[in-house]
């Protein structure tokens, strides 16, 4: 069990501390987390802090703040609920705007097939490996996504990519590009949404 967990959503970066662990282990895990997530970290130097299993929140918070400060990180705020929870998300999803016409496809997009449209594309079916979807607007896949998807090809960074099962080879939104991680995907996939947050593609469960 890790004493420090890093999460990110639309609001920023969260660090979750398990206060049941010893302080030394927390410090060690924190340094490790920073090292592992160095690329992800970028220029972000402010984080939210969440304390779990804490009896003396005020004291613990001070200790953690000091610890973070020694690493050059500022604490924005601290909260008790989890970043994976509901807060804030309803607003951000509610704000997805759609422009242009929508192309609705009720079929599987197979290897070698390329679908291009100057609005939003909705696929009811799977997008298989080797297939390509390219839209000026959003790309919504009610099915498995295993191929390549490009949303906002005119440079609209407000566009999103959604799939019931999110296992793409490559996704692009406007000028950003993201590649699938090495290794296999989860056996129990959940619907996910990809969008640009602070200049990089972030994929969240919804």
């Amino acid at each position: 069990m890790k004493a420090v967990t890093l999460k990110a959503n639309t609001e920023g970066i969260f660090l979750i501390f398990d206060m049941n662990e010893e302080l030394l282990k927390i410090e060690e895990d924190l340094k490790k987390t920073f090292k592992e997530a160095a690329a992800f970290w970028g220029t972000e130097k402010e984080v939210f802090v969440i304390l779990e299993n804490s009896d003396q929140e005020v004291e613990d918070m001070k200790i953690i703040e000091n610890l973070l400060q020694s690493l050059g990180i500022k604490v924005k705020n601290h909260r008790h609920d989890s970043p994976g929870g509901q807060h804030g998300q309803t607003d951000s999803y509610g704000s997805i705007q759609s422009e242009g016409s929508t192309l609705l496809l009720q079929k599987n997009i197979r290897s070698g097939q390329k679908i291009e449209h100057d609005g939003t594309i909705v696929v009811i079916g799977d997008v298989n490996p080797g297939a390509e979807i390219k839209a000026a607007g959003h790309v919504i896949i009610i099915g498995n996504l295993k191929g390549n998807v490009f949303a906002g090809y005119n440079g609209d960074s407000e566009t999103v990519i959604y799939a019931n099962r999110f296992e793409p080879s490559i996704i692009k939104i406007a000028d950003c590009i993201a590649k699938a991680p090495e290794g296999s995907f989860s056996d129990f996939p959940e619907p996910e949404l990809a969008r640009i947050i602070k200049g990089r593609i972030v994929i969240e469960k919804i």
Partner: protein, 263 residues
């Protein structure tokens, strides 16, 4: 009026020609009049698999170019009354015939036969286009490997684009033991990706190699598992409801002993 079925796969070496020979032979065994057309011009194999290579005088190119009559080029099978082969040319290539010529040919063959089975070459180029042009339905052959399934997916997409109404899947060279151990994709995985209906599952069978070398399709052998599976596939093609073979590996007494000792 007969039906034209194209047997295709995209990837090479998955068993298109073997499947064509066996399904064709099986259909002829259930008293259908069948012609097998080898469209793999330049790399002909179907004649060898059927053991008819010594009887070729005219070929498909001669027929479409009018160098001979259709009946002169059709080769009757050694064993079965209702089975014929229209061989490919070996000294030409895929561009020796056009799609229109093949379409005309399939229409002529449909008049004479219950089933016209087109053995498609590997790839998605001219040879593939020629083979599918006159097809009423398609059978896609795939082996339980990611590369084969990927190519099958591509082919199914192309068949859909060419508006071939009925595409079915044959899974070839399945090894139940490896599936059981989790080392091979299982049928459900493949169906899940390709989302088309299954029409046959053919187990890996060493006898196929023997039968190919001898030029005697495996359906002629009562003991061959692959032969049985091909026979069932042919019955499904004519519309019979046949349950899929139970390919569960039977555990013998010796296996059980070995298992106990290996623990």
């Amino acid at each position: 009026m007969g039906e034209v079925i194209v047997i295709t796969s995209g990837k090479g070496g998955v068993g298109k020609t073997t499947t064509t020979a066996n399904i064709g032979t099986a259909l002829a065994k259930i008293d259908k009049k069948v012609v097998l057309v080898d469209t793999d011009i330049g790399l002909r194999n179907l004649d060898v698999v059927l053991g008819l290579e010594n009887r070729i005088v005219y070929d498909i190119v001669d027929v479409v170019k009018g160098h001979c009559r259709l009946n002169q080029a059709l080769i009757k099978d050694k064993r079965l009354e209702g089975l014929f082969l229209l061989p490919a040319a070996q000294t030409k290539d895929k561009n020796a015939v056009t799609e229109e010529e093949i379409k005309k040919l399939t229409e002529d063959l449909k008049e004479k036969f219950d089933y016209v089975i087109m053995d498609c070459p590997a790839g998605i180029e001219q040879g593939f286009k020629n083979a599918i042009i006159g097809a009423d339905r398609a059978i896609v052959v795939a082996t339980p490997e990611v590369s084969s399934v990927r190519d099958a997916d591509r082919i199914i997409g192309l068949l859909e684009a060419n508006e071939i109404p009925d595409t079915r899947l044959v899974i070839n060279r399945l090894r139940p033991q490896m599936v059981k151990q989790g080392d091979m994709m299982d049928i459900e995985d493949i169906i899940d990706i390709l989302s088309i209906k299954l029409i046959g599952v053919i187990p890996e069978d060493e006898f196929i190699i023997v039968s190919t070398n001898r030029g005697e399709p495996a359906v002629n052998n009562e003991d061959s598992m692959a032969g049985k599976a091909y026979m069932n596939t042919a019955k499904r093609i004519v519309g019979e409801e046949v349950p899929f073979l139970n390919l569960e590996v039977q555990e013998g007494l010796l296996d059980r002993f070995l298992k106990i000792f290996s623990k």
